[in-house]
Symmetry: C2
Subunit: 208 residues, 2 copies
């Protein structure tokens, strides 16, 4: 199909498609003349993905580029794939002392591969921001967080499909990127529900 | 103290302090002449908070302004305070169909006050993005997310101090804003640990 039909099928305007082509987020079409190229269903799928990553997930163009590079040349190892996607979509953390973060991970027995050093830095920076604000996390809260995130992660990874590399890559990209806002929205709603339960107002009941 | 000493005590450069004053993030000092003003410890505390919100939490100036407005005139009701802080620091969600989000909240028995409509919209938008990407959340995953966020929220709200309004406001602001990056960093680390446990590599052990 021509670029006009690609635009019609995906709902992405032609100038936007041209921008994505220039940035390397969508592979070039098959050139049919000096000024025209032909596109196929792979371009439709890729455009749909790029659109979600840019518009819904709010990733920067540079982050989307790193994600599609992983899609085009996925690591064979599942941990490399996961950490690659996580790292591609993370903001780099400022360097701070990691002693507390590493002590916590050790206490929980979480295995931290060298490839996850960026995540350790992110945890250390997040804890440092709390401390810099002159604020102490209440006793036991960080352990509760760890328990909750461990349940979440185990459910997520248990559902990671293994039938095809494509499915694994797709699940990892969309799971890492698109589930995060779901989790954050749920936290806010759960906090409001818990405030109601503690401080009066409407009553709350338990999760099924 | 003069603005120079305020800068020295907080580590915030004078031009940045002047910018915060102009934007209303920090209250004016007591004017002592046409060109000078006097500042006190309340300015030191406020600058420390603004700095954390801007630099560590990455809030926009407009978001910080909404947060400090709540600090200067906090609602008496805890739910209003919590939802006010949550809303002040959230991105507005695009309007989408909320049927699924409301059905889930009903199934879990979560009480959703009218003031939380922005959070419901955020959940609906997050679920819509997953669907738009042509992706289904695995069966039961959303319930697992809800259970985990409920544990997190109950621990958070149980620790909300009630001794003074100032302490409650401070806990709410810092808890809502600064704990989120902690949670997200933990999710990524827990995912990596869970991948290692499922797909080989180093073994993982349980949370204490």
């Amino acid at each position: 199909m021509r670029i006009g039909e690609l635009s019609a099928r995906t709902g992405v305007p032609v100038p936007t498609i041209k921008f994505y082509l220039r940035e390397g987020l969508v592979p070039s079409g098959e050139r049919t003349s000096a000024t025209q190229a032909r596109y196929d269903d792979r371009h439709v799928d890729r455009l749909a993905l790029v659109r979600v990553l840019v518009e819904s997930a709010g990733l920067t163009i540079a982050q989307v580029k790193r994600v599609v590079d992983l899609l085009d040349d996925p690591p064979a190892d599942t941990l490399d794939l996961l950490v690659g996607v996580q790292t591609a979509t993370a903001e780099p953390a400022p360097p701070v002392d990691e002693t507390l973060a590493r002590a916590l991970l050790g206490r929980w027995g979480w295995v931290v591969d060298d490839s996850c050093s960026g995540h350790v830095a992110a945890l250390a920076a997040a804890l440092d921001a709390v401390r810099t604000a002159g604020f102490d996390m209440p006793e036991g809260m960080i352990d509760e967080y760890a328990r909750a995130m461990r349940s979440v992660a185990q459910a997520e990874i248990a559902a990671l499909p293994t039938g095809s590399p494509e499915a694994a890559v797709r699940y990892t990209i969309l799971g890492v990127v698109l589930f995060e806002p779901v989790l954050l929205a749920l936290r806010r709603l759960a906090e409001a529900d818990a405030v109601g339960a503690r401080f009066g107002g409407p009553t709350a009941s338990d999760v099924g």
